[in-house]
Amino acid sequence: MLALVVIQPLAATSQTITALQPRFGQTLALLHEAESAGATSSEVAPLVVLLNKALELNAEAIKLGTPDQAQKQADLLVQVDQILTTVENRAAELTVVASHRSYTNRILTYMFAGVAAVLGTIAYAFTVSFYQEYRIKRTFQMRATRK
């Protein structure tokens, strides 16, 4: 299994993230849907990077508490909103693509299983046939000897 280790310094926040939590949760739920549909970790990874970027911007926005920083805070929250919208759209696309791919793979696997059963039966038939011919040949090659 692929093991990923990410070491990255992160600023601590002395407040819990409250402003956009439900939105982050909704986006996470969409990602879970994509993963359940069969999206691979390499497909999901860019979305996780974007989500972490959104978290950092959100934490930065929360720190800006004074009135003169209100505009910057609003700009940051707009960026967070845009990132989350992007992730949600890509997650929805990924769900459709992964779902279709998983369905096709499943159908193909079951078809291959059927083909394997047919090939196995043919192999069995030939084996039995050759064995019977061999037995017949051996029977006619026998010689009766008086003891």
């Binding site: 992160l10 939590q21 079951y110």
Partner: protein, 210 residues
């Protein structure tokens, strides 16, 4: 083929059906994801990235303003992307720690929080550089007033220790629960509530006088 006589045709059909059932069962097993144990790992490492050397000069007595470097890490083995949070709390020896059986967090206030999305099978690690930036001595006990964590000051209220002994930093793992749409202490797996938390003890016997 001479083999395919009326008698042997039935044998062939039986062989085919048997093989078909076996092959389809194999196909079902390979396409169905196997259930696995879901869990997180939480760790705190010392300065040298090992489970040792947690204190400067191996001295558990932390001086005022003395930086201490640790590494916090989480590994996601939940089988999906998770939104996790490490909540850092400070307490003394009388502080109630998290309850593993009931799955309850410690009542200590949150001094700092690290939030992150992590993928399945991914380990996320962050440096945790902290120092006690303000502590005062009053009536034989030491009150920690402020911590510096990764260059951010966190104000602490109402935490004191007798002669500055047996203070501790608690690290609790919180995970986003999609059903509850909120962070919860620990996580659910197989209908059970699991929690992960750590604590590191230290002393602070040299506060500034009041």
């Amino acid at each position: 083929m001479s083999f395919v006589s009326s008698q042997n045709r039935r044998t062939l059909i039986a062989v085919f059906i048997t093989l078909l059932v076996v092959c389809e069962m194999v196909a079902y097993v390979t396409t169905t994801p196997r259930p696995r144990e879901q869990f997180f790992q939480l760790y705190v490492l010392g300065t040298k990235h090992m489970a040792a050397d947690y204190y400067p000069n191996d001295n558990t007595d932390i001086q005022l303003g003395e930086p201490v470097t640790w590494y916090l890490g989480i590994t996601d083995n939940m089988g999906s992307v998770q939104l996790v949070s490490i909540r850092v709390k400070i307490g003394n020896e009388t502080l109630k720690p998290p309850d593993d059986q009931q799955g309850l967090e410690s009542p200590a206030p949150v001094a700092a929080e690290f939030t992150r999305f992590i993928q399945d099978n991914e380990t996320w690690e962050t440096p945790f550089v902290w120092s006690i930036s303000d502590a005062v001595s009053s009536g034989g006990s030491t009150r920690v007033l402020a911590l510096q964590i990764n260059n951010e000051t966190c104000q602490i209220q109402d935490w004191s220790a007798t002669k500055g002994h047996n203070l501790r930093l608690l690290f609790e793992l919180w995970a986003w629960q999609t059903e509850a749409n909120a962070f919860e202490f620990g996580w659910m797996t197989g209908g059970e509530h699991r929690v992960a938390w750590l604590q590191v003890w230290f002393n602070m016997t040299s506060p500034r006088p009041t």
